[in-house]
């Protein structure tokens, strides 16, 4: 967004330099050229090479997902004899109880993203707009918990949940959702802090309580932030491997675990073609979501909060 503005300014601004004839620079000065920002051949070469490198894993997994087992064992070059095996995708969703795992993934991702977004917004609002004893200390703790390695808490949490009998239930995800996420709390707090005080004062004058101010004034204003939070949490949960692997039995697990260890032949080794097809189906929702909401992430959406 701001680049278009920048480049527009650059294009309009007339060249101001080197107009005075008396200026005799000691060393040769480069003329200021407003179009210097335009990319040259070197930039294009770098972009094309880098893009090719980033695309290779995608292209290769598509090739493998459409290959026959014979092609796979024949090495990389036999994959180029393109004979698309579309039934690999059909087999990927029928060989394992795909619909069941997908439902579990969807259910957990929706639960966690809705709960986390609501909680994080509520807590972020408290830290942005309310006052209470110890607020600053609590906020420092939130910032500090962003630095606590999540695995250092996940394994002990797993042991605790195992003793409480919460393993192989979805309760851990509900609790994680209710607790909110420090990073999102921080982002919501930054977002709410930037909203003018007049809005809040006007609502207070009208006799609104804090709940109504939060629910009817602040939340409707923070739609982009809510959307960001929902998307981030949804994809985190959809992509999470370790928590379902530790906390859920195989027949009750998510698509992440099932895709990873579900496609086995009778000897117990992975069927590469089906695994590739399954992986492609599994990542499709995430990629679609991000492509449709690109503008949020390509702008200053997620990063604006972390600015120093």
């Amino acid at each position: 967004m701001s680049t278009t503005v920048n480049s527009a300014v650059g294009a309009i601004t007339p060249p101001l330099v080197d107009e005075s004839p008396t200026a005799t620079p000691r060393r040769p000065r480069r003329r200021y050229d407003p179009s210097a920002n335009r990319a040259g051949i070197g930039v294009y070469a770098a972009v094309v090479i880098a893009a090719a490198i980033f695309l290779v894993p995608f292209l290769y997994i598509v090739l493998v997902a459409l290959a026959t087992p014979a092609q796979v064992s024949g090495g990389a070059f036999s994959l180029l004899q393109f004979d698309p095996q579309w039934q690999n995708f059909v087999e990927a969703v029928t060989r394992i109880n795909w619909l069941h795992y997908a439902k579990n993934s969807l259910f957990l991702s929706v639960i966690v993203s809705v709960l986390t977004t609501f909680s994080s917004a509520l807590v972020g609002f408290a830290f942005a707009r309310l006052r209470g004893r110890g607020k600053n200390a609590l906020f420092t703790i939130i910032l500090a918990t962003m630095m606590i390695p999540s695995i250092a808490t996940l394994i002990p949490t797993y042991i605790l949940f195992a003793r409480l009998g919460l393993v192989n239930t979805y309760w851990p995800w509900v609790l994680w959702g209710i607790a909110g996420t420090p990073y999102l709390i921080f982002l919501f707090r930054q977002f709410f802090t930037a909203i003018p005080l007049e809005l809040e004062d006007a609502a207070i004058m009208d006799g609104a309580g804090w709940w109504r101010i939060f629910w009817q004034v602040f939340l409707p204003l923070s739609r982009p932030m809510i959307l960001t939070s929902l998307i981030l949490t949804f994809t985190w949960t959809w992509g999470d491997y370790l928590a379902p692997a530790l906390l859920l039995n195989y027949n009750n697990t998510t698509l992440a675990v099932a895709t990873s260890i579900g496609y086995l032949d009778p000897r117990g080794s992975g069927i590469i073609t089906l695994q590739s097809a399954g992986a492609l189906i599994y990542i499709l929702p995430v990629i679609v979501i991000f492509l449709f909401t690109q503008r949020y992430f390509m702008g200053s959406g997620i990063s604006s909060g972390v600015k120093g």
């Binding site: 997994i61 609590l138 420092t140 808490t153 992986a279 990542i283 200053s300 990063s303 120093g308």
Partner: protein
Amino acid sequence: MTSRSTATSVAVAGSDARGRGWRRYRSSTFYLFASPWIFGFVLLTIVPIGFALGTSFTNYDGQSPIWRFVGLRNYIEIFTSDPEIWASLVRTLAYVVIAVPLSVGGGLFLAVLVNRRIRARGVVRAIFFVPSVVPIVAVAIMWRLIFNRDAGLLNGILEFFGGPDQTTWLADPYAFYALIVMTLWGLGGGMIVILASLQDVPVELEEAAKIDGASSWRVFRSITVPMISPILYFQVITGIIASLQVLVQPMLLAETNNLSTASNIPQSTTLYMVQVYKEFFLYNRFGYGTAMLWVFFVFVLALTLILQRLSKRFVFYQVAVDQD
């Protein structure tokens, strides 16, 4: 900053005028609204970490009800008679030292590239960014394909150019580098954050410098990088902490990725957290594993504090940091 604090003090004066009852209402609402996080912090952070601390003084094995306190024995063993831990720690540090600068540097490089006025900029940005949001399970499957011994792309290309054929990239000693390559594929996430901060650098500053005759490289080095240094610093910090605790990537990149067989992870990718995971779920040494977690925890905490101190030397903050 100044305008904000005056606004706050006005608000304080305003609410003071509303009286003590109002302030009490606001304060109790603060705790009510913050309670989900407070509850979560106590139940899901303090309790597990405290429980881990307690367990670390025992020989608990995860199943049997018979366990006893062993005092500091676990910690003594970690520091005196477990060379595997130190080897895994050295590998982890090597991983951090290689992966973090390459990730941040590569992210900066790509951000500068896609910040230029190039054709199909949106598509190019998406190509760099999307890998960073692909779930790790699929990322690992993709890179296992590339590094696969028989059907892998890398061996295919090497064979085509007459190089050595049939290298087992996912075994020692190459697995470590495969892991780093896989990590670097996801640097587009950092690119996006850096890109956003690049776009916030005041264009007048750069243009003024160019008018004064500074070369593009000089402008980049002396103006752009200092202006975005808080973001770069943030990337380095979060990158270090994330890289120190890498566990899932080596597990999923290992050829057999059955959960119960953590023993299949090659030694060169047995980073610290993998070692911890093995102690828990391969050897059932929960007491010892939690002690390792606590050592790690203190280590990360100390490192964060040191980096925080260091940052004041070289990070340029445009405005005072609003940490409240």
